[in-house]
Symmetry: C2
Subunit: 368 residues, 2 copies
């Protein structure tokens, strides 16, 4: 993997860059659609290409449980299995083990947990997370970490982040494939000294990129931005920075302003399936009866396939009637909207009008 | 609407033709994918075009209840509402009133029934069926009929078919739009004299096309073919003939052999959503564990988008994990398979090797 910073904003830490993997070039900042179970829900790989996605995220925990990483390896890796020609990042499974797995028990060696699918017992260590991710074959893989809940006591956060750092070291040691870049994950909850120590320790280990994890887990957004304010400056300039699990338009702007290069989030696809879509003038619940006879597009300012061909009334009917096409159309639009927004942000950084774009965007979209 | 017979097979009643509507030219024989609720389940209009669909069917009963025919009229008609540029046929609502509606009461004037969605009380007469279909605006619309259950007594069938004929007359009288062709529907259960009388009475009314209804409702397939054997010869040569609700490969061959031009059926899309796909070598339940590690396409002899890009193992994983993309891929393939099969049949009739194609097809597909 190769990463290069291209442009820097004058008045903030926003920057553009190029991230090159074995599966192509990704312009940063970038939003990565989430393909939890080897599919970005409702979308074909071809459609992801159409909307300009260059890199997607997939979840190690889910793929490990179903269909199994060995099966994916037999298929020739995840790219081939799901027919995706672009880049892929896999998370380490840590987040899901802690949020989805049941009866988990954390030890220095690793984590024992029960599958959320069939209750079967599993054990994942940092080494196993790397092996699973090696089998899956993503271009970027993540160190195995504990994502602590919010709120957490200082004591709990301290023990956890120290272990996460030791786990990161074990991951680095165990990682074999040199066609996969390994990223470290800064943890430490909302405790500044813990976050700073985590960042410094990980930077000393020289990962190929750095993620900020454990945010957007229930804390006020201001707290998240504060963490970025003091963590990002500790990360190396020449390496990509990834804010995990964050993807609302406001958080994307705030993250980029603070020097973040990469984002992922289930938000755009999840709200789409519940009938909520992004528009230039804020979110719109197209499922509502208000739109039953509204024959305008989801977002009149959008030029995506859905907005060019289908109306709110039709999509509302589909959602109301439980038709799959409704979920497809809202998902497609929301991903397009967000990818196009990040593209506009890149252009704004290049042209050095990022803060102006931010103000203009929110004056229409609404602040919240 | 204009219809022209182009080629006739030598050794059977198979024929090819051209059906021209205000929305394009449809080569016959033709299979019409079913878009019950203004969407062929899981498919965009663009994908329907890609697989070569020229005409689809939509259900008057469903559209009347949701979103309502007046809303569709406001949208500019069903073509515009669902963004479908090809032709559309709507059924009369009769079949669904009898199969889905609850507490129905049949009188000479029309049928009172309760909605399967919310239990609300509704009344549809032949005149109202036509008005609803006028609002929806399909290219071909159907007379309001009663589709009797199998088995039915002679007495019941006789009363019903006589009323259906009277209803057909009322439909014809009430039909206003001259950009919509109105078809009559031959009923009469499995009683030859009733079927023959129905056919003769309807032909005397001079409809623009004729359907054979009330078949594939539980009777042995041989009985269906027998009905076609004596009904089709009574229908005018120069008008299209439509076998309603039939769409398995074997019934399509048998129907075409007996002179049928048009088919529709939910079968290919419904079995797809349950994980069963057509292949040149018979049906395959791709959901089965047998295919977990099968990295070949659904049908190695198929050249559709799905078979060129995705494997059985991947699709099996998607279905197993409850992912919408799985339903999309099986649906797309099954419709492509069936449309391509009917295309091959047309070519065979043109080249006068229809019966040879039939034998060749079933020697691989299996007889059943």
């Amino acid at each position: 993997m190769r990463f290069e910073v291209l442009n820097r904003a004058e008045k903030c830490s926003a920057r553009t860059g190029l991230l090159e993997t074995y599966h192509g070039i990704v312009k940063t900042p970038v939003f990565m659609p989430v393909g939890t179970q080897a599919t970005v829900k409702t979308m074909t790989s071809e459609e992801l290409e159409q909307i300009g996605a260059k890199i997607i995220l997939s979840n190690t925990y889910h793929l490990y449980l179903r269909p199994g990483h060995k099966l994916i390896e037999e298929a020739g890796g995840l790219h081939k299995f799901m027919n995706w020609k672009g880049s892929i990042l896999t998370d380490s499974g840590g987040y899901q083990v802690f949020s989805l797995g049941e009866l988990r028990e954390i030890k220095e060696e690793g984590v024992t947990f029960r599958s959320h699918i069939d209750g079967s017992l599993h054990f994942i260590s940092p080494e196993m997370s790397i092996e699973i991710q090696n089998s899956i074959g993503a271009d970027i893989i993540m160190a195995f970490d504990e994502c602590i809940p919010y709120p957490a006591t200082y004591e709990y956060a301290k023990n956890s982040v120290e272990r996460t750092t030791r786990w990161a070291e074990r991951c680095k040691k165990h990682h074999k494939r040199n066609d996969q870049a390994l990223f470290g994950i800064v943890q430490g909850g909302l405790y500044r000294d813990l976050r700073e120590k985590s960042a410094k320790d990980l930077v000393a280990m020289d990962f190929e990129g750095y993620a900020v994890g454990g945010l957007s887990v229930g804390e006020p957004k201001e707290c998240m931005y504060e963490v970025l304010d003091y963590v990002v400056p500790l990360l190396p300039e020449e390496k990509p920075r990834y804010l995990m699990g964050v993807g609302s338009p406001d958080s994307i702007f705030e993250g980029i302003q603070r020097g973040i290069d990469m984002f992922d989030c289930v938000l755009p696809t999840r709200i789409a399936r519940h009938g909520t879509v992004f528009t230039a003038r804020g979110k719109l619940v197209v499922r509502n009866a208000t739109y039953a006879r509204d024959f305008s597009p989801l977002d009149p300012e959008c030029d995506c396939y859905v907005c060019k061909n289908y109306t709110r009334a039709y999509i509302r009917h589909l959602l109301n009637a439980g038709e799959i096409l409704g979920l497809r159309l809202t998902t497609y639009h929301n991903l397009y909207f967000l990818l196009r927004l990040v593209e506009k942000i890149r252009e704004a950084i290049e042209g050095d009008y990022f803060l102006d774009l931010k103000e203009e965007f929110f004056s229409k979209y609404g602040y919240r």
